[in-house]
Symmetry: C2
Subunit: 285 residues, 2 copies
C-alpha cells in the first residue's frame, strides 16, 4: 500500500482563509496589513521565492514591499533598514530573505527586527522564546511542518520524532516545536554515525538537509510518517525533495510531496503571521 | 570494572583559577567584579544554594549582593529590580534564583536582564543566541555538564547523546551545547515511551529530571558515560542524584558523582561568568 500523500495545498488553503479573516478585520479597523521583505542576494531561487510570496500576498490584499540591497551589503546597512522598518508603524511584518551576504549571520541581522514584527521567527529573542515555550513567531517553515502534521492528524505526543538537519530556519526550530508537543526528539546531521539506524527508529521523520533524494527506503521504518522539507532544483529545472519519493512511498505510511507539500504551507503560514500581527498580533509579553 | 568517576571538584578548581585571573585583571583596572542574585522564594534548597554561591564568590573576591524579594513578588516588581541592576554600571552579572513565584516564567522575567549581564543565560535573547550558535552566556548548569565532559576527555563529535529532562535550565540548553559539538542528540522526558531502549542507545547520557535514583543499570549501555545533574535531598538530608549510582557504576564507563560532580562545576562556572563580564566579557555582538 503506497504512502498516504500528506499534501500541503489544502493546509495552505486553510491558512490563507485564516489570513484573509485577519486582513479583513484589520481593514475594517482602517489598517492595511503590510509586509516587508529585505533581500540582499541575487540568487535566482531567492528571487523566485520572493516573487511567489509577493504574488500570494497580493491575492490576500497584504501589501508586500521588497527592499533590495546589494549582495555585498554590510551588517550595519541591513540592520539599519530592519530598524527603520521596525520603527515604521505602517509595517506589520519583516523578513530577511536567505541567503544573507557571506560572513553575516541571519540571526544576528534579525536581532534588529522588533519581536512583534519578526514574522519568520528569525531573531534570537524569537528563537529563545520558542525554546522557552513563550508566545512568539516561530520560523515559518518549521511552523508549516507542524501545520502539515496536524492537518493530516499525525499524533505526536509520546511518539519518536527524528529531524535530519540542524539549520536555524528548519531543523532546530522544528525540533523545539515537536518537543513542545511532547514528542521524543532526535536531531541528526552531517556528523551523525549510522544515520539509517536512527531514522528507522522514527515514527515521524522530518528531513531538511538540502540534498536531492538523500533519504531512501532503507532510512524509513514501515508505516512511518515522512515530511520532506527539501526544495532542490534538478538538472531539468524541476523541484526535487530531500526524500527519494519513489522508494520511500512504498515503505512510509505518509509522505509529504515535493512540490505541493511543505512549500505552499510555508508561504501561507508566513503570510498569516503579518496578517495576524496587523490584526493585533499574538501577546508577546 | 567500576565506572570512572567523572569528578567535578577538579573541574571547579580549574574554573575558579580562570575566574581568579579575570578578577585580578579587573582589579588591576580598578574594577571590582560584582554579582547580583535576585531571590523571590523562601525554599530552603534555594537559600542553601545562594549561601554556597555567596561564600564561593567571597573566596574569589567577587562582590555578591543578594536582593531578597517576597515570594509573592509580581513580575513587574522582579523585572524592575532586574532593570535597575542592568542599568547599574557597577554590576557585572545578574541571576534570578529559581524557583520564581508561582505563575511567573523565569525566561520572561530574565528578559529584563541586559544580555551582557545575563551570566546564567536565562533570558530569551541568551537562549536564542545559544540556539543560533552566536556568542552568549549559556545556563551555568548546562555549561558545567560540558566542562565536566571536556575535562574528562569525553569525545562528543559524531557520538550519540541522550538528554533525559527538558527544563530550560538544563535539558534544553545542554542539548543545544551537545548539538553544537556535533553529537547526535535526543531529548527524552516524561512523555517518552520505552525510555530505557532510548537511553541504552546513548554513548553519553545526561540526566536532569529531579527524581532520586531514577536511572538504573537497565537504562545504560555498557561503557557509556553518564552525567548526573540531579540534586535531590534524601529523607536523612543527604544529597542524592537522579542516577542510581550503585547499579549504574557497574555498567557505565564513566559516571559523575553526586555530590562532587556537576554541582561544584556549576557554582564555579556561574562565578566565572561575571568575572569574565567584569573583565570585558565575551563579544555579544
Amino acid at each position: 500500500m503506497p504512502a498516504e500523500s500528506l499534501g500541503g495545498r489544502e493546509v495552505a488553503a486553510r491558512l490563507r482563509a485564516l489570513a484573509a479573516e485577519s486582513v479583513a478585520s484589520s481593514a475594517a479597523a482602517g489598517i492595511t496589513a503590510h509586509f516587508a521583505i529585505v533581500v540582499a542576494t541575487r540568487e535566482e531561487s531567492a528571487a523566485w521565492y520572493v516573487r511567489t510570496l509577493s504574488a500570494a500576498a497580493a491575492r490576500l490584499n497584504i501589501e508586500c514591499e521588497v527592499l533590495a540591497l546589494r549582495p555585498d551589503a554590510t551588517a550595519a546597512e541591513i540592520m539599519a533598514v530592519l530598524r527603520a522598518q521596525s520603527a515604521d508603524t505602517a509595517v506589520h511584518g519583516i523578513v530577511v530573505q536567505a541567503p544573507v551576504p557571506a560572513g553575516l549571520a541571519l540571526a544576528e541581522l534579525a536581532s534588529a527586527i522588533e519581536p512583534v514584527k519578526d514574522v519568520d521567527g528569525a531573531s534570537p529573542i524569537s528563537l529563545g522564546r520558542l525554546m522557552a515555550g513563550l508566545p512568539t513567531f516561530a520560523p515559518a517553515t518549521a511552523q508549516a511542518v507542524l501545520e502539515l502534521l496536524d492537518y493530516h492528524g499525525v499524533e505526536l505526543d509520546g511518539r519518536r520524532a527524528v529531524v535530519v538537519g540542524r539549520s536555524l530556519v528548519v531543523g532546530k526550530p522544528v525540533a523545539q516545536l515537536l518537543l513542545a508537543r511532547n514528542a521524543t526528539v532526535t536531531v541528526c546531521h552531517s556528523h551523525t554515525a549510522d544515520l539509517a539506524s536512527i531514522t528507522r527508529s522514527a515514527d515521524v521523520l522530518v528531513v531538511a538537509v538540502g540534498r536531492p533524494r538523500f533519504i531512501t527506503a532503507e532510512h524509513v521504518r514501515p508505516g512511518a510518517v515522512v515530511v520532506d522539507v527539501g526544495t532542490n532544483t534538478s538538472a531539468n529545472g524541476s523541484l526535487v525533495g530531500d526524500v527519494d519519493d519513489a522508494s520511500v512511498a512504498s515503505v512510509a505510511g505518509g509522505l509529504s510531496p515535493v512540490p505541493g507539500g511543505v512549500g505552499p504551507a510555508t508561504t501561507a503560514r508566513l503570510l498569516l503571521n503579518p496578517a495576524t500581527a496587523a490584526a493585533g498580533g499574538p501577546d508577546l509579553g
